[in-house]
């Protein structure tokens, strides 16, 4: 799998890409590539995690991410159990701490959690002995999304991240996808640009390792990939934007923008897409679009994450 057999995975949990070294990331992506092979076979199941238990604890709804983790776990023959907010006691006023202890008592090897509060995964991991995967916490982090984006672009970019330019477009302020991708790609040497109206940029962004644009035509010039973010329609209510029509006029990624980008520009989107709002309909389906590759990469990458966490022995090579 990895040429360097002295490498071992050092992390109990996967909470944020900031915890990963370049070595961790490349090892994980190599492993994901080997699982991608399995996913192309007619029989897509291996017994690697037979007898292991993965709990999918999605307090905030996300069918796509949850299904991706579920498929990933099942392809490795792990048993999976789902717990939703309505199925847990959380909506009866139970604290996250008590829910966590209940989960722990079920003896899982890995808990994957999606939660609306930034920091929720870190809080859970602090109190539990089993591995915790952050499946997205508030506006903070979405490490497996960043890793699958990285996996998709590694294929397209033939393994070279340095010297490339990635543009992240849309609601940066409220995006855990953006935060995780900024960290991961800058660590790997990719130049990162952000483009958004100022109302959708986070505080302190001027100190991030990025270039900031408000004009999409300028931002798209000579980039090697554009990552569109999903516009959360409910943000309308807090008056961060005048209206959606104006937003799409200024920030909807269209073919004119791609014409200004690099010759082999790629387009990513974490989904689900608001076609015509943040991404033009034809772009979403164009050859430049990696949207479906991302879905496949999601399964492979999550298989790698589950494998590394479920088979980890302290201080020993995996």
């Amino acid at each position: 799998m990895n040429a360097d057999n002295r490498y071992y995975w050092p992390h109990k949990d996967l909470l944020d890409v900031t915890q990963l070294s370049g070595m961790d990331t490349l090892h994980l992506l190599d492993l994901a590539a080997s699982f991608q092979e399995i996913n192309r076979r007619p029989l897509k199941k291996v017994p690697t995690l037979k007898g292991k238990t993965v709990v999918l604890f999605f307090v905030e709804n996300s069918t796509r991410t949850k299904t991706s983790f579920d498929v990933a776990a099942k392809r490795l023959s792990a048993d999976t159990y789902s717990l939703t907010k309505s199925g847990s006691s959380l909506n009866k006023g139970e604290s996250l701490k008590d829910t966590a202890l209940t989960l722990q008592a079920m003896g899982p090897d890995v808990i994957v959690m999606r939660h609306a509060s930034s920091g929720a995964a870190a809080y859970l991991a602090k109190g539990l002995s089993c591995a915790v995967v952050n499946g997205g916490d508030g506006w903070h982090a979405h490490p497996t999304q960043a890793l699958l984006d990285c996996f998709s672009l590694r294929e397209a970019w033939e393994g070279r991240f340095a010297g490339r330019t990635l543009l992240i477009l849309g609601d940066i302020a409220h995006s855990r996808v953006a935060r995780s991708n900024v960290h991961l790609f800058s660590m790997l040497g990719t130049r990162v640009r952000l483009c958004a109206p100022r109302t959708l940029l986070p505080a302190g962004v001027e100190n991030w390792p990025v270039e900031i644009f408000s004009d999409l035509s300028r931002a798209a010039r000579n980039v090697d990939a554009v990552m569109c973010l999903r516009l959360q329609l409910e943000r309308q209510q807090v008056r961060l934007l005048p209206d959606l029509a104006e937003y799409s006029r200024r920030y909807c990624l269209g073919s004119a923008h791609l014409a200004m980008a690099g010759t082999d520009v790629k387009v990513l989107h974490p989904g689900p897409l608001n076609r015509g709002l943040e991404i033009a309909d034809d772009i979403a389906d164009a050859p430049a679009s990696l949207v479906l590759n991302q879905v496949a990469a999601g399964v492979s990458t999550r298989m790698a994450v589950l494998y590394l966490l479920a088979t980890r022995r302290d201080g020993k090579p995996t």
Partner: protein, 420 residues
């Protein structure tokens, strides 16, 4: 009854303090006069003598939230922290917006601590703190309230603030405002800045405090009345206060030790112990506050003692309530600033005793003959660790939990009677 404290260190010099009943008789250089016959003597060699501190901003949680703190435990923490008097805010349940609540608080204090620390309730500015109708301030004053505030629930309505300032002035009560533009600040969990952007949580911009403080100061100038700005956290607010003072506005202001010692990086890792209202700001705000305290632009220090139960702070940042427990730690934290040469010992007297007494018209001890015999002695070198065995508040919600602090109260006298 006469008491003689000998060999105490006061502003760097050894002194003897002679107490007659509930008053100071004299303070003289140590050894100048022998202790009078029959006088109780306390040898305070190695200890620092301080006037009794006044904390103008605490939350004692009774009635309504006794599991966090009650008046007995809060006053015990005050006594052991060197506080001879505390002003308690009105956000209890029920809110202190009627004379019966004020009387209840004073009765509880008299029962548990008949000889002090003294409790001075602060009246709610508006009924139920709802920011709509003015509370019966005359009735509350008669029952024993010493100031007026909507603390914890900033008043958005400038017209109402104007009327509260005016009506309170007739009664000799000062209006204390928790400054925060609620709309500009809405839904915040911490300071808006690089750390909130990194952690991905909703921040409160510092300008939401400064903008409201500017409104209050302009109203105070227009009306020719005083206003007191609570727990200042932002450098920008200091600029507004300086502007008001330069124009001769009767504006006074307070801040807390935690704003002088910590910045918003304390919330790294979603540390709920550092979640406080107003939020810890950036490093430049913290430095500006230290300078403002030293030069007197900030008039007084307060703890904003806000006790919470352990289970309430154990959770995610958005689940946890705002607040830091303060009465047990304030002396040590302030002494830390003296040890680091940010403040002088004399500044402590001014910030924790003289100025709060002046602003809120309370008796204080300047160690002049006839002053109230409110004072304490502390060991400046004793190291202690805040924790369940060393604190008297019911709550331990402090980011300093488990750290080594210097300075411990060894004796506390209020009105000439020893309470610690």
């Amino acid at each position: 009854m006469t008491l003689c404290i000998t060999n105490a260190r006061h502003l760097g010099a050894p002194v003897d303090l002679l107490v007659d009943g509930d008053r100071v008789r004299t303070m003289t250089p140590a050894g100048q006069h022998p202790a009078p016959d029959g006088c109780e003597v306390f040898d305070a060699v190695g200890l620092v003598l301080m006037p009794g501190f006044i904390d103008a901003h605490v939350h004692l949680r009774e009635p309504g939230f006794e599991y966090k703190e009650d008046i007995a435990s809060g006053l015990a923490a005050a006594a052991h922290g060197g506080f001879s008097a505390v002003l308690c805010m009105a956000n209890t349940k029920p809110v202190n917006d009627t004379a019966s609540v004020t009387s209840f608080m004073l009765e509880r204090a008299a029962q548990s601590h008949p000889f002090g620390p003294r409790l001075h309730p602060v009246a709610a500015a508006t009924v139920g703190l709802n920011g709509e109708g003015m509370a019966p301030l005359a009735e509350l004053k008669e029952a024993g309230c010493v100031a007026v505030s909507n603390d914890g629930r900033p008043v958005e309505n400038a017209e109402l603030v104007r009327r509260v300032m005016e009506y309170a002035a007739d009664l000799g009560l000062i209006f204390i405002d928790h400054c925060e533009d609620p709309r500009l600040a809405g839904g915040w969990l911490m300071n808006e800045g690089e750390v909130s952007g990194f952690l991905g949580v909703k921040g409160q911009p510092a300008v939401s405090e400064a903008a409201q403080a500017a409104r209050d100061i302009m109203l105070a100038e227009y009306l020719g009345l005083p206003v007191h700005i609570a727990h200042v956290s932002a450098g920008l607010t200091l600029d507004v206060i300086a502007w008001g003072k330069a124009r001769g506005v009767q504006v006074s202001a307070e801040t807390c030790p935690h704003y002088l010692l910590l910045d918003d990086s304390a919330l790294a890792g979603y540390n709920t112990a550092a979640k406080v209202s107003p939020p810890l700001r950036g490093a430049t705000d913290r430095e500006a506050l230290c300078r403002a305290v030293k030069k007197g632009l900030i008039d007084i220090l307060v703890t904003d003692h806000a006790p919470h139960a352990a289970h309430e702070k154990d959770g995610t940042l958005d689940e946890a309530p705002c607040g830091i427990t303060g009465l047990d730690l304030a002396l040590s934290l302030t002494w830390n600033l003296v040890r680091e040469n940010m403040l002088a010992e004399a500044d402590m007297h001014r910030l924790w005793c003289k100025r709060p007494a002046e602003i809120f018209r309370l008796p204080w001890n300047g160690f002049a003959p006839g002053d109230p015999a409110d004072f304490f002695l502390f060991d400046p070198d004793e190291v202690w660790t805040p924790g369940p065995d060393t604190m008297h508040s019911k709550s331990r919600n402090t980011p300093f939990l488990g750290q080594n602090l210097h300075g411990r109260v060894k004796g506390h006298w209020i009105g000439g009677r020893r309470v610690v």
